[in-house]
């Protein structure tokens, strides 16, 4: 076990029907750092991410074998008696395409809190404000909390989704290519915010953009065809890759 490990993936195999999507994954995710999962499309990085908050359980033919230990509780998220609601309270997720609900800005961020039975108006608005500030959206929207979330721009919608995930105060935040549908300026906004977010929360970031991985992650994992090829401090991995395939990928020879 690595020191400061928040998540420890051990011997993870993932199957969709009879097809093996992930093979023998071992990975330690350091607490309060950004870990980037990088690799070409179809390499299994999103699947690995979705296993961490048990989203794969929504797909009937999918099965995951192995261990994902959450620290400090030291529980295996993949054990059969694990309650997905308990896991998803501690592990939040933001998806590739911004997906706010057709509700007001306020109700979007308060959604997770309401699910847990929080009704106190002042506590709700307090936590909504904190979450929006963490996501770097508060200044832009504080005067129109009752407006529809769909009136926001794509980049704002995605930051709203980040705020929505942060509002329930998760320990881990999973970001699945959060900027792939956004313009460069919105992308820069979100990347800037990551350095604030990681002070409170451990972040796992899936990206196929290696510049993004280099810019805003502390550690990077390079995946190929369902396997981890190389992992390490981002600075080291990008300047001095150990594996030939990693080197080909980051020098732009494929992917």
């Amino acid at each position: 076990m690595v020191e400061n490990s928040k998540l420890s993936v051990q011997n993870l195999h993932f199957f969709y029907k009879s097809q093996q999507v992930l093979k023998n994954i071992f990975l330690d995710v350091t607490e309060k750092k950004v870990t980037a999962l990088m690799g070409p499309s179809g390499c299994g990085k999103t699947t690995l991410l979705r296993c961490v908050n048990l989203m794969h359980e929504l797909i009937p033919e999918a099965s995951a074998h192995g261990k994902i230990l959450l620290q400090p509780q030291n529980v295996n998220l993949l054990s059969d008696d694990m309650d997905p609601l308990w896991v998803r309270q501690r592990v939040g997720m933001v998806f590739q395409k911004p997906n706010p609900f057709p509700k007001s800005l306020f109700e979007n961020v308060a959604y997770g809190l309401r699910l847990r039975g929080l009704k106190n108006k002042s506590e709700l608005s307090g936590r909504v404000e904190v979450a929006l500030k963490q996501a770097g959206l508060w200044v832009e929207v504080s005067d129109r909390m009752t407006h529809s979330a769909l009136s926001l721009s794509g980049g704002q919608q995605q930051r709203l989704c980040i705020a929505r995930a942060l509002a329930v105060e998760p320990e881990v935040l999973l970001l699945d290519e959060p900027t792939s549908a956004l313009d460069p300026i919105s992308t820069a906004h979100i990347e800037e915010q990551l350095s604030e977010i990681k002070k409170q929360v451990t972040v796992m970031l899936v990206t196929h953009n290696l510049h993004q991985a280099a810019r805003c992650s502390d550690e990077t994992v390079f995946m190929l065809a369902g396997e981890i090829i190389e992992k390490g401090k981002s600075q080291k991995l990008f300047t001095n890759p150990q594996d030939k395939r990693t080197e080909s990928y980051i020098t732009g020879r494929f992917g």
Partner: protein
């Protein structure tokens, strides 16, 4: 080349004219029907007509028991249809495992919506009137009409639920919502306008139904207002049919007037539907 272009344009024009003719014809027939009803019966409609019970003398006969009956039957139908129909739709769409069984059920629901209404009357006569001994009551009528329109509500509610983007459902699950919470907090509020449209459409159909209610033994002469849902009843279309079958021409005027009232009631039901939909749409912020 030149001729083929002009021919194509000619066919284009022809299709347009044909469509206009079809539309005009159906509109003319509909308007004639409505104006005919109003001209024949309009003068008969006054306060007394709405507040009197039926009578042997056409000039004293009124619609009171019929429209009150229609209102109560519609209320019972609406409650039953929403409770059973929306629950069934939710189960089929969200909880049932997809497979041959659920496809079979889906196919049968579609078939049921095409079944002649008098068969529902026979079913209700056997089950509600005789087996459950509910008699020819408001409750029986409401249950019967509710059976009749359930398929419409189930199908339209399922479509409303299915039209929601699946990635928002995923977002709700990822925030730790149960299936039930996802329904209550996101899916139902967002699909309410579609569900309500189906319900109102169903009620508009039920309000004009006569055959199944005659089958269960609804009376035509009711000179009192119902005090409970177990009381006998009559409804507007039955009263209308009764007056129309009398030999005296004065009763035919009454029938036309009752037709106008029935039309007005259906129209206001549809207006109510539109109003509810606008209200709902304002609270759902698409």
């Amino acid at each position: 080349m030149e001729t083929s272009t002009s021919r194509r344009k000619l066919f284009n024009q022809l299709m347009k004219i044909l469509g206009l003719l079809g539309l005009g014809l159906s509109l003319v027939i509909l308007l004639t029907l409505i104006f005919d009803l109003i001209i024949r019966g309009g003068s008969r409609i006054d306060f007394n007509f709405l507040t009197s019970f039926p009578s042997r003398r056409p000039s004293e006969a009124g619609l009171l028991s019929a429209w009150v009956g229609t209102l109560f039957v519609m209320l019972i139908t609406a409650v039953m249809t929403i409770l059973v129909g929306v629950s069934a739709a939710i189960y089929l769409e969200e909880y049932a495992k997809p497979g041959p069984m659920s496809r079979l059920i889906e196919l049968n629901i579609l078939n049921l919506s095409a079944m002649p209404s008098i068969l529902y009357g026979l079913l209700a006569l056997g089950i509600f009137v005789h087996q459950f001994r509910l008699g020819a009551s408001l409750l029986t009528a409401g249950l019967t009409l509710s059976l009749l329109v359930l398929p419409i509500v189930i199908v339209s509610s399922r479509e409303a639920l299915r039209a929601l983007p699946p990635n928002l459902k995923e977002a709700s699950f990822a925030l730790g919502a149960t299936r039930f919470q996802t329904l209550i907090y996101y899916q139902l509020p967002s699909s309410l306008s579609g569900i309500m449209t189906g319900v109102i459409l169903a009620l508009s159909r039920a309000i004009g139904e006569t055959a199944p209610l005659i089958t269960i033994g609804a009376l035509t002469y009711i000179a009192f207002l119902p005090k409970s849902i177990m009381d006998p009843f009559t409804v507007l279309p039955i009263q209308l049919f009764n007056w129309l079958s009398r030999p005296q021409p004065a009763f035919h005027v009454n029938a036309a007037a009752a037709g106008v009232i029935l039309l007005l009631l259906t129209l206001s039901l549809n207006l109510l539907a539109i109003y509810i939909r606008i209200r709902v749409r304002k609270s759902v912020k698409w």
